[in-house]
């Protein structure tokens, strides 16, 4: 429900708008600020999609260059960041296509469609389960786990939950319907949860030990 504050907030122009105006007026230093502001996010997103560091470096550079060249086409009815992310997602998918020549790559890849199954794994997690691992181990677990998700789920989870785009922005960025984003998000979250359970589940009570797994 919109509050008076949120309505007022919408009327206030996003700080990027002024920077973009300056860039359009020929001030490259304003673009420098925009690049600084979003380069880490773009690199992360590219890395999540391509799963390759060199590709992510290229994607990040190409996306910022492309955005700069196409800045005239930026309408301003979406956020600059969302527009930028869309360019980066497309660049990443293109890069993947080049890599796997002959194989089509899209965000629809690997999506099975059966819906609404209730997860069976009941194991509760230890309190603060990540503390049972050091930073390097935890990073490895999190990377491995998210890399195992189907591409189309992974991108939705990354944009929506990691990078904080809204459902609407995620849909717009990926060219998906809102229900499609919602259904993928739920399944991405549940699959990640289930996979992480292997590492984070509570140690079994004494009477249960020795019963396998």
């Amino acid at each position: 429900m919109p509050t008076i504050q949120s309505i007022a907030g919408e009327l206030e122009p996003h700080p990027d708008v002024a920077l973009i105006e300056r860039v359009r007026g020929g001030d490259l230093s304003a673009y420098d600020l925009l690049v600084r502001k979003y380069e880490r996010q773009l690199f992360r997103i590219a890395q999540h999609i391509t799963q390759n560091r060199e590709d992510a470096e290229d994607v990040m550079q190409d996306a910022f260059l492309k955005a700069y060249e196409k800045l005239e086409q930026f309408q301003g009815n979406s956020k600059f960041y969302t527009w930028l992310v869309r360019i980066a997602v497309n660049e990443s998918l293109m890069r993947l296509r080049k890599r796997r020549t002959g194989k089509m790559v899209s965000i629809d890849e690997d999506i099975e469609t059966e819906e609404g199954s209730v997860p069976r794994d009941l194991a509760d997690w230890a309190p603060d389960p990540e503390q049972n691992y050091n930073q390097a181990e935890l990073g490895e677990i999190l990377r491995k786990t998210i890399q195992g998700l189907p591409q189309g789920f992974r991108i939705v989870f990354v944009l929506r939950d990691v990078e904080g785009l809204s459902t609407e922005e995620t849909a717009e960025t990926l060219g998906l319907s809102i229900p499609a984003v919602k259904s993928r998000l739920l399944r991405a979250r549940l699959q990640l949860r289930e996979r992480l359970s292997r590492y984070f589940h509570r140690k079994k009570a004494i009477k249960e030990t020795g019963v396998g797994k």
Binding site: E39, H48, A56, L65, A123
Partner: protein, 78 residues
């Protein structure tokens, strides 16, 4: 409310976008069903962990190098 219905609202509950009425029903179900309580807590925790741990960090030296390269290419494109 069945577990399946609970699951259908799980995202909305996590994202805090349910009406007070539905929320009350969901909370009641959670209170009665360990299964859904576990799924709710661990799913929320999953999101929190991914949000708080940057798994693809951009080291400063690489960041500077890429930044310089981007700006140089933009300058050339002017």
């Amino acid at each position: 409310m069945t577990c399946k219905e609970f699951l259908a609202h799980l995202d909305d509950l996590i994202d805090d976008s349910v009406t007070a009425e539905v929320r009350a029903e969901l909370e009641t179900h959670r209170g009665r069903c360990t299964h859904c309580e576990v799924i709710f807590n661990t799913t929320r925790k999953t999101i929190e962990i991914y949000r708080s741990h940057e798994i693809y960090e951009l080291p400063t030296s690489l960041r500077d190098r890429l930044h310089t390269a981007i700006m140089a290419r933009c300058k050339k494109a002017c």
